[in-house]
Subunit: 401 residues, 2 copies
Amino acid sequence: MAVAKKMRDFVENGSMIRKMFEEGARLKKIHGSDKVYDFSLGNPNLPPPEAFKRTLRAVVEADELELHAYMPNAGLAEARSAIAERASAEQGLAVDSSHVVVTCGAAGALNIVFKALLDPGDEVLVSSPYFVEYGFIADNHGGVLRSVPSASDFSLDLAALEAAMGSKTKIVLVNSPNNPTGRIYDRASIEGLARLLERKSRELGRTIYLVSDEPYRKIVYDGAEVPSVLASYASSMVATSYSKDLSLPGERIGFVAVNPAADDEAALMGALALANRILGFVNAPSLMQRVVARIGDACVDVAQYRRKRDLLALALKPMGYDFSLPEGAFYLFPRCPIADEPRFVGLLKEENILVVPGSGFGAPGYFRIAYCVEDSVIVGAMPGFERAIAKARGLGSALER
Amino acid sequence: MAVAKKMRDFVENGSMIRKMFEEGARLKKIHGSDKVYDFSLGNPNLPPPEAFKRTLRAVVEADELELHAYMPNAGLAEARSAIAERASAEQGLAVDSSHVVVTCGAAGALNIVFKALLDPGDEVLVSSPYFVEYGFIADNHGGVLRSVPSASDFSLDLAALEAAMGSKTKIVLVNSPNNPTGRIYDRASIEGLARLLERKSRELGRTIYLVSDEPYRKIVYDGAEVPSVLASYASSMVATSYSKDLSLPGERIGFVAVNPAADDEAALMGALALANRILGFVNAPSLMQRVVARIGDACVDVAQYRRKRDLLALALKPMGYDFSLPEGAFYLFPRCPIADEPRFVGLLKEENILVVPGSGFGAPGYFRIAYCVEDSVIVGAMPGFERAIAKARGLGSALER
């Protein structure tokens, strides 16, 4: 026993998403990668937009003095300004550059936010299903993640959230468009949550912060709108990344934008910058800060994700899979046709189809299909999806007999 | 009180280095940047080597598929192999790619190492003076930094280290060439430390790991050799960065290389990769991983730092400043001419000269001059250094009277 006990346990119980990723690598070695249908990872398959590539080349060619140098921990002035300007437009609330910290992606953003806010034992409240990483991040900083089931249509269950709030609640974390459900929390939900948080903060005599993890804000379909968290509640912040809308998950670039009216905002901004430093990020990667500062509203071609969504949904629906159409992000989250979720995920694996069990998101009985893949993967997997549900029904009837 | 209590205290007591950095910005606004002599920050002033720039352009131009995509948390196979090969040559011990994790710089590397190894209350032992950041990093992961004064020539005091080792000691951290002293721990010291750690690990019935933070390994003068920690002790690892030898501190790229013979190495490698993920790094920046994989042994022009060292040392010595010549890194660490360190640092500030007080490194009575600056800064500061020591002597005599 030399490795920290907690880390040993974490490694042994590992992330289901990563496990499926490794299982996929193993199967691809055996069967060839064109015979394995890997829907396990939210790794955008679209290339970054041309504007990104052009800007990256221009920044590298210009080779400005200090291009790779140290900078203030909160980020380059140029990047903070550009991000503040765009975030203000998106959120419908003026955020100046002093309220922005550039981060190593959304995971880096959430780590510094939790580090800045959580005292030992403080709770972070989230609606399930949720991205499993949140639990680790809360734990990193002495906090505890507490989850509350969402409503049956995956919208926020405000009554359940209220019932879960207590003297330890410090943060409510929302993720919309949601991973894994694709649900966007509508304006009424966000406004309702904001009023609830105002009331509970008063009742409990301490501010509950509202943190919005929204890397899929721009990946929405059919003209859907993502209501602003910043405009709804004073003690709020956005902690997000460019990983999905610019297809840059390997580069680790994102930001925190804090509502200037947030409680204790001056101390908070200082704590976020310090957390960026001492957690070892120091600053978000310098070159990428310059690039995102200069690309304006560039975004991947969302129409392609929409097409993939429809391709998948139109094929799975008639087979009998039960799901609602995602409003955003690039995940489908169907119900398992049998109660035994690992069994059904196993049936899919027999067909060389890799998905992530709902348990990996605190929602057993479902599974996640990440459709940010080549069309050929979606098309190629269809017969397997059909055979798996047929087998599941056979099992179902066998059990009924 | 909304921000975490600990973070509020940290922000208030902030880093002296960063404080001087901000003070510098303030003075530059008032007096003009050519009238302020800022030696406060270890921000390399040399440009990255041409090989780096060429490789960066080539990687960006080639725009390979997956250039910016997700990858395993431990890093790209290509980067891990190249780093393993170079580390093996530098350390004189075969390290394969499975024992390398690519990280967001040395600060990222140390964070994942401490996260992977420290149980609550475990101690990290370091020889002072030391980089103040180590204390924050240990604290991030529930550990405690414990420092032991080095010998009067800033070499390791093995007897003092031994006396400080106990049932809580989990890590001994060495930093050579040292920030702030410029001292390189010689072979006898490293071998002595290794034997001591073997004996104490046996006595205490638990492995003490030896972690080497060595970003200045290549920045050495007069043919000095940096003895290998990996080759000296089984349960050892290097946690370092390319920030200094490639002048890339803003890009956040470094690595951990673990001795394959380290105790519990399989669990340790799993824990390091997991820590990279859950602390929010996820992986070191993708583009930079490809670049460092392909640049071979490139390094900044160390001769220029040597020249700056000599320029500074040859001017300060005759004025009466007391220091030993740095063997590596780019810091001079003189003794304060008066016992009152803040007073003397204040006298330098009156001359618009910014240095970091030794207290910032756990070594009161000294101050650090980071000479990784333009020659004009060194030359321009000379009259101020002379006036400051003269004033200090006046104070000294005044006190004697």
